[in-house]
């Protein structure tokens, strides 16, 4: 289980590295799809079928939007000559990465081992869920009954995003 997850995450890292360094913008967008669809396989291995369904459809829509933006413009990344400002930002990035990795390695010692986490909060949700909510799908019961405010907030974020997109592109309505 750990070995399979590590191999798939390693492939996702390779895909992400290629997506950052690709010369053609269309190849970079499709390599972003490698990370998204690899995540679907990771969700299926971690016994989360709800998340796998949502991630696969949302990743397809996101790829459609990005490809439509890229195809409508010039597809090449022309600038690749390194200069002073490029070197400064690369060194800053590497320093930041080393510092963050060191602190993450320290803070992970306090977590339990992979797969042996204690369900301290979730025991209350699992035990009474089928009596209190009446739904067989525990994740749907948690979303709509125990944590309904999060769902309401998410619907509001979607509506605000539609409003924002229509305002930025200045799409006028019917006259």
């Amino acid at each position: 289980m750990e070995i399979t997850l590590s191999i798939i995450t390693g492939l996702m890292i390779l895909g992400a590295l290629y997506a950052i360094h690709a010369k053609d913008l269309l190849s970079a967008v499709i390599a972003c799809g490698i990370v998204g669809y690899g995540l679907v396989i990771c969700f299926l291995l971690l016994k989360a079928p709800d998340l796998a369904i949502v991630q696969i459809v949302v990743e397809t829509i996101s790829l459609i939007i990005m490809v439509a933006v890229v195809l409508d413009s010039s597809r090449q990344e022309l600038f690749s000559k390194p200069d002073i400002q490029g070197y400064v930002s690369s060194i800053t990035a590497i320093l930041l990465i080393v510092v963050l990795f060191y602190f993450f390695k320290i803070s992970i010692e306090t977590l339990d081992a992979f797969g042996q986490g204690t369900l301290r909060m979730a025991t209350h949700y699992i035990e009474g869920a089928t009596d209190k909510t009446g739904s067989a799908n525990l994740v749907t019961g948690v979303i709509f009954d125990f944590r309904g405010y999060d769902t309401l907030g998410e619907a509001t974020v979607l509506i605000t995003a539609v409003l924002g997109v229509l305002t930025i592109l200045r799409i006028k309505g019917k006259k």
Binding site: P49, V54, I65, G134, N137, L152, L158, A161
Partner: protein, 145 residues
């Protein structure tokens, strides 16, 4: 924008209805099987997006105006908020209460108000994704008149 070749048009003619039906199935059985409002809503939007991409916007007569998809989205979220407010009238008189009878585990008509929430959130998510797609892919520029 132009449509695609004849093979793609005929294949989407067969497939779009099946995808729409599968999206409705995932929304309605949200409290029994994996899925729910969000996954089913994006699937329903996906069937419409497939039809628009295969036939081209000239054929579907999408002019540079706002279509009716934002109307459905606003109506669906309004009904969902009214359903949540109706918990103030029954039962323990709190906001967002699950006040319908729970029923037996495993039936379609069970779990109180959760299937109703699934349906309206599904309609809202489908209309949102369709509006975002239409605005970003079809109506790209501002109307300059």
């Amino acid at each position: 924008m132009k449509g695609m070749t004849l093979i793609v048009k005929k294949t989407t003619q067969l497939l779009a209805g099946l995808i729409f039906l599968y999206g409705i199935y995932v929304v309605i059985h949200g409290h029994l099987t994996p899925g729910g409002g969000f996954a089913g809503g994006v699937l329903i939007a996906g069937s419409f997006i497939l039809l628009i991409l295969a036939n081209g916007s000239d054929f579907m007569k999408l002019t540079k105006e706002e279509t009716g998809s934002t109307l459905y989205e606003n109506l669906a979220i309004l009904v969902a908020v009214f359903l949540a407010l109706s918990g103030l009238l029954f039962g323990a008189k709190t906001f967002f209460l699950n006040w319908l009878p729970k029923g037996t585990l495993g039936e379609i008509v069970s779990a109180g108000m959760i299937p109703l929430y699934n349906i309206f959130i599904g309609i809202e998510v489908a209309a949102s994704i369709l509006s975002i797609f239409l605005a970003l892919v079809i109506f790209k520029e501002e109307t300059s008149e």
